[in-house]
């Protein structure tokens, strides 16, 4: 079980999809109510991350299609449009002064990926 963001506020653990359905070292988009969540299977680090799917730069629903990687150990995702990169841990934008993104706690239980929401 791995959790990557503050999960003390979590009221709902949403069962999103089977872990095996996610590509290795890549992401997919999860629908939760009306929200879109980008979920990343960072298999090289045996870690999972989740964040908003919307890139705040040009308001595009694409972060789940971004390439993931790291800068000096900090895990990140790069938006496919203009390569803004965001920390997958804190959500902070790493290569410009732009606003950051929201991240969510993730865990894997019984082969399923669960994302934690406050409501």
């Amino acid at each position: 079980m791995l959790s990557t963001a503050d999960d003390t506020q979590v009221k709902v653990w949403f069962r999103a999809a089977r872990a095996a359905d996610f590509p290795e070292n890549g992401g997919a988009c999860v629908r939760y109510k009306d929200a879109q969540i980008a979920v990343f299977n960072f298999s090289r680090r045996s870690e999972w991350y989740a964040c908003q799917n919307l890139c705040p730069h040009k308001m595009q629903m694409v972060l789940s299609r971004g390439i993931i990687g790291s800068t000096e150990g900090e895990p990140k995702v790069a938006c496919p449009f203009h390569k803004r990169t965001f920390s997958l841990r804190t959500g902070a934008c790493m290569n410009s002064a732009d606003e950051g993104i929201v991240t969510f706690p993730v865990k894997v239980e019984d082969g399923y990926v669960l994302i934690g929401f406050a409501q």
Partner: protein, 830 residues
């Protein structure tokens, strides 16, 4: 504590503060500046017109003065100096006392006494306030003139052109830049400027600035008239010596405060520096001598060993409207016995003149117009009195050889002054490399401040850094990113020699960390170029376009481009594209590469659309990949009355041959059927033009933001030879180029340039032609249509969906209508 008052906060006044701090002068420093803003870079004022802000131009922010404990009063003009009591009074009535006072009041624009100078629309070009007024007024008019064709006047003219005004330059002398250039040099410059849209009027003396309240034109003494609505005067500078005069300091009859070699005025407690100072009857209107004067004063106030100002070299190099101009040493050859050597190329608009001493041993000075790349080397040669080669003319004839520049750097003594603005020698730069680990111009800027003044020394500094690194045995390394300490070319060899097939294996073998958005697509491209396996076997290291085999567009939908080789398509296929586009409601547009792009497909629609396209006989066009895009053609000898070869057939053959070939960047080709070049082959990575005898092959052309014509590799070859040479050329590019480098840039960076490339490709100087050809044949064997593979493989098809836990489409996608088709909403309207 000693009190030092600096009157004036311009570039030199600021530099004096910096130097006093650097030399740890223990005194309280008080600065009075007349302008409301802290010192800014006046040398690069014209950059204000193309986007630089006030803040960008600042020498240092206000906070710097605070941190340094410098008391800064802005918007406050010193009106009196009471030398007897060593006090000053400002226009607000403030009094202050000093132990030492430095006049750094600079100069103002000289405005000649011409009738009409008071009219609205007449400006000077000196301060940021002047610029703001010029910009505001410039919006209301369309024609403007600059009075003064010197250095500053031409800078001002550039600014006016940047404002979109039809611009005239009016000069009293018979040539432009009369102080720096001789007649021929000035006329070469003039021709260049005129070809850029500037009008130049020489030998014109303005009688009156005509008009009724506002500027209505210029009346000249010779009776002619110039119809303009705005005038910028740039006829020289006038030292701001009014305060000095009022205080009884000794001034020059033509203006300026007289100083000695220690920058002292006739009052031992008052110095003058910069453009207000007259040293040995000379006013220095450049920043570098001003900085040297500040250094001289700082040395005295710091009680360091005495430094004197003994005159200064007035060499300059600048870019005027994109035209290089350099003038150094004795530019006009006024030294007795000086012998000029002149080279002029009317075709390229370049002019080079060097003046050598009567004994032929030393370079005295010279002029460079159109190409000033040798300025640094020549200037140093003159300053350091280096020995001239036995045939001095070889310096300016048959140049363009890069090695000359580094040789020049090598020959310089360590004391050679490279950055005159900041007083940085060759030895200082080499030391920064040797002792502080500097390895780039940016590092040198940080450690030595070189290049931060006028910037004219940047290319010299770069050469010295390179040369020093090389002399230390460093290989100047181009690593891909923090995860791979190798260049693309090295990774190419590692992958192919070790037979590595996946990104993860490569990272294990020779990388570190987790990878990133730079190395992952670069390695994906390498593996595609080496193994040509389906790229979707490693989908998550691909850029999004390669991951979904389509081009992502605004709004998050994709566009689809089937291959239409050579731009030839049957009516039936045209109808098929129309039918499919209509069915999926796609926006259609003809591309620049003679094919049809269909926009607005949602990710989950892509496999269905391609299934239909494939059943109609289409295949992937690789518009999404760093791969061969199109080979454009004109109609050639089959139909065209001028055509001499069948360009369409050849274009189709080439496009079919290289389709799917992945490279460091996208590749475009073209074939033209005759010399009229309707396929624009010379703007492509490889272009073929038909001749009576066969084909001419051009390589390394580029359209895009920095267009570059392709260069002729070989002429009049037959079809088989032409294909062989393209094989070799493309394979050599694929093996050796940096990531995301088009062929044009690759060639520009290649040592030896086109000569070297031709040697490798045509003359086989490296003995690798055969293996290049074989590698290409091997690679092309593995071609398969990526979309066919996806359409036929349910597990690959399943990757084309928006949600992993819902079959719905992305509900946020929307379209608006435009000219009877759809388009995405404007993403700037949030």
């Amino acid at each position: 504590m000693t009190r030092i008052i600096i009157v004036g906060n311009g570039m030199v006044g600021y530099k004096l503060c910096e130097k006093l701090k650097k030399h740890q002068v223990s005194a309280h420093i008080i600065v009075y500046g007349e302008e409301p803003r802290p010192a800014y870079d006046r040398v690069h004022l014209s950059s204000y017109f193309n986007g630089k802000t006030e803040e960008d131009l600042q020498m240092a922010p206000i906070s710097w003065y605070k941190e340094q404990g410098v008391e800064l009063h802005l918007g406050e003009l010193v009106t009196q100096i009471d030398r007897e009591h060593r006090t000053i009074i400002t226009h607000t009535g403030r009094t202050d006392n000093y132990d030492y006072l430095v006049l750094a009041t600079g100069s103002s624009a000289f405005v000649p006494q011409v009738k009409g100078v008071e009219r609205d629309g007449v400006f000077v070009y000196r301060t940021i306030d002047d610029l703001n007024q010029i910009i505001n007024f410039g919006k209301t008019v369309s024609r403007a003139a600059v009075i003064g064709g010197g250095l500053l006047g031409l800078e001002a003219a550039k600014a006016l052109q940047d404002l979109g005004l039809q611009t005239h330059v009016v000069e009293f002398a018979p040539r432009l830049m009369p102080r720096q250039l001789d007649e021929t040099g000035a006329s070469v410059l003039q021709q260049k400027l005129e070809s850029l849209g500037l009008s130049v009027h020489l030998k014109k003396s303005t009688r009156e600035i005509a008009g009724n309240g506002v500027v209505g034109g210029l009346d000249f003494e010779d009776g002619t008239f110039l119809d303009v609505e705005m005038v910028v005067i740039s006829a020289g500078i006038r030292p701001r010596d009014e305060l000095a005069k009022r205080s009884g300091l000794e001034t020059h009859p033509r203006g300026g405060v007289i100083v000695d070699d220690l920058m002292k005025t006739n009052d031992a407690h008052i110095y003058a520096v910069g453009e207000v100072a007259v040293h040995r009857n000379f006013i220095y209107g450049l920043v570098a001598p001003g900085y040297e004067m500040a250094e001289v004063v700082a040395h005295q106030l710091a009680n360091k060993e005495l430094r004197t100002f003994t005159g200064f070299d007035m060499s300059t190099k600048l870019k005027l409207l994109g035209v290089d101009v350099g003038s150094f040493g004795d530019a006009l050859g006024e030294t007795p016995g000086a012998v000029p050597i002149i080279f002029q190329d009317r075709h390229n608009g370049t002019y080079k003149r060097i003046n050598i001493s009567s004994d032929g041993k030393r370079l005295l000075g010279g002029i460079l117009v159109g190409d000033a790349s040798q300025y640094g080397a020549f200037h140093q040669m003159a300053l350091n009195q280096l020995a001239l080669p036995p045939k001095p003319e070889s310096l300016i004839i048959g140049t363009g050889d890069k090695n000359n520049a580094t040789d020049g750097v090598k020959a310089l003594p360590d004391t050679a002054m490279i950055c005159a603005c900041e007083n940085v020698s060759k030895g200082d730069i080499a030391n920064a490399v040797r002792e502080k680990g500097a390895s780039s111009v940016d590092h040198i800027k940080k450690f030595t401040k070189a290049c931060t003044g006028c910037g004219g020394c940047t290319s010299m500094v770069n050469d010295i850094v390179k040369y020093t690194l090389e002399s230390l045995g460093h290989k100047v390394k181009k690593s891909l990113c923090e995860h791979f300490d190798y260049s693309r070319q090295e990774l190419y060899d590692i992958i192919s020699i070790k037979g590595i097939r996946t990104y993860d294996d490569l990272l294990e073998a020779c990388g570190k960390g987790d990878g990133c958005e730079i190395c992952k697509p670069a390695v994906a491209s390498l593996m595609a170029s080496i193994w040509n396996e389906t790229i979707l076997s490693q989908a998550t290291i691909q850029d999004t376009n390669d991951r979904f085999l389509a081009n992502i567009q605004r709004g998050g939908t994709y566009s689809v481009v089937p291959r239409i080789a050579g731009g030839e398509i049957t009516p039936a296929k045209l109808i098929a594209i129309g039918r499919i586009a209509q069915k999926y409601d796609l926006y259609t547009k003809i591309t620049g590469g003679q094919r049809i792009d269909m926009f607005g497909a949602r990710v989950e629609q892509l496999p269905e659309i391609w299934e239909e396209l494939i059943s109609e006989g289409f295949e992937s066009g690789h518009a999404y990949g760093k791969a061969l895009r199109t080979v454009k053609s004109c109609v050639g000898s089959t139909w065209c009355r001028y055509g001499v070869q069948d360009s369409v057939s050849f274009a189709i053959y080439i496009e079919e041959r290289y389709k799917g070939l992945r490279a460091p960047h996208k590749l475009k080709g073209a074939v033209s059927g005759c010399i009229r070049e309707c396929a624009e082959a010379q703007s492509k990575d490889f272009g073929v033009i038909a001749t009576e005898k066969g084909w001419n092959l051009y390589v390394c052309g580029n359209g895009g933001s920095r267009p570059q014509h392709a260069k002729l590799l070989v002429s009049d070859v037959d079809t088989d030879t032409c294909v062989k040479l393209i094989d070799r050329f493309l394979m050599f590019y694929i093996k050796t180029a940096d990531p995301l480098t088009r062929t044009a840039t690759w060639l520009n960076k290649m040592e030896g340039g086109m000569e070297y490339l031709r040697d490798v490709i045509v003359n086989d100087s490296l003995g690798m032609a055969e293996s290049l050809e074989q590698d290409m044949v091997e690679l092309l064997k593995h071609y398969e249509c990526e979309w066919k593979k996806v359409v036929e493989d349910p597990s690959l098809r399943a990757q084309f969906r928006h949600f992993i836990n819902d079959d719905e489409q992305d509900p946020t996608i929307s379209f608006v209508g435009m000219r009877e088709q759809k388009s995405p909403p404007d993403w700037n309207k949030k």
